[in-house]
């Protein structure tokens, strides 16, 4: 077991989640044997399918029982188990500094990402980290070594949020830079237009990546419950806005509703693993829900 000194990692949470495994929802192409399905047939104990024998096939893989029953040659194929590459894409724009009781969205994302990285490393998967500010703030390609995990966790602990968001560009870049199928986990408040998010997710899906999205929001952003005029300072460096929430509250809610409905549509159409989270929720519950939701259902 790795020695944990990162304060954003909670030993109790790790222990609680130790019984759960991180599963990919799509077949992965790994470099070593692992716990995830591979698009390539392999020698695991998990039966995959029958296939007609073609010259060149290894005769040892012929299913003689099937030949005895119907006098035809079939090759019995089994699933290949491989490892996965998990790429953590964390939005490090200024808006991720928005906090609830001292807990910033970035801190929340850091805990989820750190815990997932630890779980993935524990089950032998490669872990990579991409910090998305206006561009790539930090890029650590996925690897399997313990030292690599340590580097990822160090970077998670050290990263800070600032500037405008360049998440859309980073996601498009990530889609291109990660060469093989990977589990792309996005942690962001996604304050970009749903149509832009759709383009990014379509791109990732096109590259056969398994995409999971943690959409981090804070309660005040959803309610705008202030009783006096406020000067809203754009955390991403834009122009401040002076507004009276009692006057524009209704319009704010309408704009938020339109956005969330748009996001729902995008998620339904892109079929990504989407989790909308208030950052006052316990992140271990969120992770447990996430991991359980990805556990393959057993065939009866």
């Amino acid at each position: 077991m790795l020695e944990l000194k990162r304060d954003y990692l909670d030993q109790k949470v790790l222990e609680r989640l130790s019984t759960l495994q991180l599963h990919a929802r799509l077949p992965m192409v790994g470099s070593v044997s692992g716990k995830h399905r591979s698009p390539i047939r392999g020698s695991s104990l998990e039966f995959a399918e029958y296939r007609k024998y073609v010259p060149g096939d290894d005769p040892r893989r012929l299913d003689w029982r099937a030949y005895a029953r119907n006098d035809r040659y079939y090759i019995k194929e089994f699933e290949a188990d491989t490892n996965l590459r998990m790429c953590l894409v964390i939005d490090t724009s200024g808006s991720m500094n928005f906090a609830h009781d001292g807990m910033r969205k970035l801190d929340y994302a850091r805990r989820i990402a750190g815990t997932l990285a630890y779980i993935a490393a524990q089950q032998g998967d490669a872990v990579g980290l991409y910090c998305a500010g206006t561009g790539f703030h930090k890029e650590i390609p996925p690897k399997r070594s313990a030292a690599h995990l340590s580097a990822v966790l160090d970077e998670l602990g050290a990263m800070e949020a600032s500037g405008e968001t360049g998440l859309a560009n980073v996601l498009h870049e990530t889609a291109e830079r990660v060469p093989q199928r990977a589990l792309i986990i996005i942690l962001s408040d996604l304050f970009i237009e749903p149509e832009v998010v759709r383009n990014c997710l379509d791109h990732l899906r096109f590259r056969k990546h398994d995409v999971a999205v943690f959409h981090l929001l804070e309660q005040r952003e959803l309610a705008l419950e202030f009783d006096r005029p406020m000067r809203f300072i754009d955390m991403e460096g834009g122009e401040p806005i002076l507004a009276d929430p009692t006057v524009i509250g209704a319009q704010y809610q309408r704009a938020l509703e339109v956005y969330l409905e748009g996001m729902n549509t995008v998620i339904q159409e892109t079929e990504v693993d989407y989790h909308r989270i208030r950052i006052n929720e316990n992140y271990d519950d969120v992770l447990a829900r996430f991991l359980l939701g990805r556990t393959p259902k057993r065939h009866k």
């Binding site: 969205k105 959803l222 005029p229 000067r231 300072i233 809610q253």
Partner: protein, 688 residues
């Protein structure tokens, strides 16, 4: 709009308070770092139209609420007149009250007269405002100034009560000027309460110009006219004329003319009106049908006891809009012997006068004429001695040089007792004054400067090539030359004058020759009448005697009027001086609501002083006068600080009423509107 607490208006700038608070609030905002800017920007874009308008309305409602609160505290008054004179308060307030009979027209629903309605409104208004240190009432009936303790007292004091008199508004304004000049008052409000009756206002009078000029020299005098010129919807008035007591054998009767006038709609005019007569406590009712605006009952006979030599009676109508013109009092007595004295310097002319005066117009009348030659007149200075019954003489014809000294004084006293004097030109070749004692004969035109009643004779005029002087103009509507009862004019156009003697006189011409010289003039006197005629009746001078009619009519009329003063019963128009010694006159009728002694003569009724009877009634013009157009009245005050406030006798609303309730309601409404606008919209919780 005026204010009872105008100093509270100093706080009016506080209406900017909500705007200031809004601006301060805008600068007192909290600053917060915010992530979800995209929703804020979108919300701001959406809230530009209606939300801004709503915000503006909220601010407006707050401003209105504060303004209404300030107005509530300042206690605004409606009415408008206070606003027109600014904030300053008067040092004194003068009330010119028209107490004429027409002001007693009532609203049939409220029973309130024009006079009492105007007084009540004015009293309420002055109570609410500030009327200064002096509140002076000038009433039209007495014409006197009286200081009043408080506006409320106006409603109770007798000198503000009803009267049967007519008003003299220019005279009241002249009294106001006299008061202002005597007291050197500062800012003064002059309130005139009137129904704009044309006889009360006398708009044609030359006094108005002088009044305007004098008021224009005074600063700080503001005139307010409370005008109620509405005519009654229907009103009848009655009056009696020509009351005569005759004896026929062993019976006696009263013969009188009753005139009923109607004002109002035509339905009323067609009705039958019962007229109630009361004589010696005996009542009778006669119905007359009104089919015109004026109906008369000529020569109505009422039998009376033969022993009733003098007395009184009344004629009444059913109640209507004006109770004051529904009853008319009259008095009667035996007709006195009509006695005339002729003083003449020419026998022929003296005889002409005697003949014309000796023949009565009614055989029941007795006429007696004494002709005194100027020679015998010159021998004695006392007319008393010359004319044996001088005190019982109604007419004096003076056809001689103008007298002076004690005789002149006697003639003046004669006129002052209500008798009539007619002066005709002397025919003497020389002109001297025979009435000096001893007589002094002066040659030529030496007495040209001798004047009596401001008049004196000048030279004889002859027509020259024209042969005769003709009468080009005469007044046929009134006085000696008025049309006869049938309506026909006297034939003055047929009168031929061969000589006339011009005279200078301040009197009013009643007829003129074609060269504009007066043929007949009347000199204004308090009582009685004085006439100057420029020609003589004999054929040498004119056709007066030969034609006869004109000469006879004017002398009979003059004799009749002069002899009215001889009667123990007299009819008078109500006025302050109608009963000279008011304490000597006892009120006989009406016995209910008898006025104070000081008000005797101002109220209609019958008064008695020993054997003398006097019936006091409203003047004839009160029944027929119409209202002066308000534009004409406004023009009378041209150049003066003046404001007319039209009031209606049926209108019970005050001239000025406090409006704070309206502003309080406005404030509440503004606050409610502000609250409604400030309510947050229906907050829809976003489904997460």
């Amino acid at each position: 709009m005026g204010f009872l607490q105008p100093f509270a208006l100093i706080a009016l700038p506080l209406i900017a308070l909500p705007i200031l608070i809004h601006l301060i609030n805008q600068y007192r905002h909290r600053t917060i770092p915010w992530a979800a800017m995209m929703f804020l920007m979108s919300a701001k874009r959406m809230s530009k139209g209606m939300a801004r308008l709503r915000h503006f309305l909220i601010l407006l409602m707050r401003v209105l609420a504060v303004a209404a609160l300030i107005f509530v505290v300042s206690r605004p008054l409606s009415g408008g007149w206070l606003g027109s004179i600014g904030m300053s308060k008067p040092d004194a307030t003068l009330i010119l009250l028209d107490r004429s009979a027409s002001m007693e027209r009532q609203d049939l629903q409220t029973g309130q007269s024009k006079r009492s309605a105007a007084l009540q409104k004015l009293a309420e208004l002055l109570e609410q405002g500030d009327y200064g240190t002096h509140l002076i009432l000038i009433d039209s009936a007495s014409g006197q100034l009286q200081e009043v303790d408080s506006p409320k007292a106006l409603l109770d004091i007798p000198i503000a009560g009803p009267s049967a008199t007519s008003a003299d508004i220019p005279g009241m304004l002249a009294s106001t000027l006299a008061y202002l000049n005597a007291n050197e008052s500062g800012r003064v409000d002059v309130w005139i309460c009137s129904d704009l009756n044309e006889n009360d206002w006398d708009v044609e009078s030359g006094r108005w110009q002088a009044i305007r000029e004098e008021f224009a020299q005074l600063e700080g005098v503001h005139h307010f006219l409370l005008a109620d010129a509405d005519l009654p919807s229907s009103n009848l008035s009655v009056r009696v004329e020509n009351v005569q007591r005759w004896e026929r054998g062993n019976d006696a009767e009263l013969v009188l003319d009753v005139i009923v006038r109607s004002k109002g709609n035509r339905d009323t005019m067609r009705q039958e009106v019962p007229i109630e007569f009361e004589v010696n406590n005996v009542r009778s009712v006669v119905e007359v049908k009104l089919d015109q605006q004026e109906a008369s009952l000529k020569g109505h006979r009422i039998p009376i006891d033969t022993k009733l030599r003098s007395g009184w009676g009344s004629v009444g109508l059913p109640g209507d809009a004006n109770p004051l013109d529904n009853r008319f009092f009259f008095v009667f007595s035996e007709s006195p012997v009509r006695r005339a004295v002729v003083v003449s310097d020419d026998v022929k002319n003296g005889e002409a006068f005697r003949r014309a005066l000796a023949i009565p117009i009614d055989p029941r009348l007795q006429h007696q004429v004494d002709v005194i030659s100027v020679d015998s007149a010159a021998e004695g200075a006392s007319l008393n001695r010359l004319a044996g019954q001088w005190e019982n003489t109604g007419l004096l014809i003076w056809q001689a040089a103008l007298p002076r000294g004690s005789v002149a004084e006697q003639i003046a006293q004669f006129v002052d007792k209500g008798r009539v004097v007619m002066f005709f030109p002397p025919t003497q070749a020389f002109i001297g004054n025979l009435w000096d004692n001893p007589p002094v004969i002066r040659k030529g035109n030496q007495n040209a400067d001798e004047r009596l009643f401001g008049s004196h004779w000048r030279d004889w005029q002859t027509p020259g090539s024209q042969q005769i002087f003709s009468t080009s103009w005469w007044r046929g509507d009134t006085d000696l030359l008025a049309h006869v009862e049938s309506g026909d004019a006297l034939p003055l156009n047929e009168l031929r004058t061969y000589q006339y003697r011009s005279f200078e006189s301040p009197g009013t011409p009643l007829a003129r020759f074609n060269d504009d010289a007066p043929l007949l003039s009347r000199v204004a006197t308090d009582r009685g009448a004085v006439y100057f005629c420029s020609t003589l009746p004999t054929a040498q001078f004119s056709s007066l005697e030969r034609e006869g009619v004109i000469f006879y009519v004017i002398l009979q009329r003059a004799l009749g009027w002069g002899c009215q003063a001889l009667s123990v019963a007299s009819q008078r128009d109500a006025g302050p001086d109608v009963l000279k010694d008011a304490s000597a006159w006892e009120l006989v009728a009406p016995t209910d609501n008898s006025p104070l002694l000081s008000q005797h003569g101002l109220h209609a009724g019958v008064y008695r002083d020993g054997a003398y009877w006097t019936a006091v009634n409203r003047s004839q013009i009160e029944d027929s006068a119409t209202a002066v157009p308000v534009e004409t009245v406004d023009a009378l005050f041209d150049g003066m600080s003046y404001r007319r406030i039209d009031v209606d006798v049926g209108d019970t609303s005050a001239l000025a009423s406090e409006l704070w309730r309206i502003f309080l309601i406005a404030m509440i409404m503004a606050l409610l509107a502000e609250a409604a606008l400030s309510l947050p919209g229906k907050r829809t919780r976003t489904t997460f």
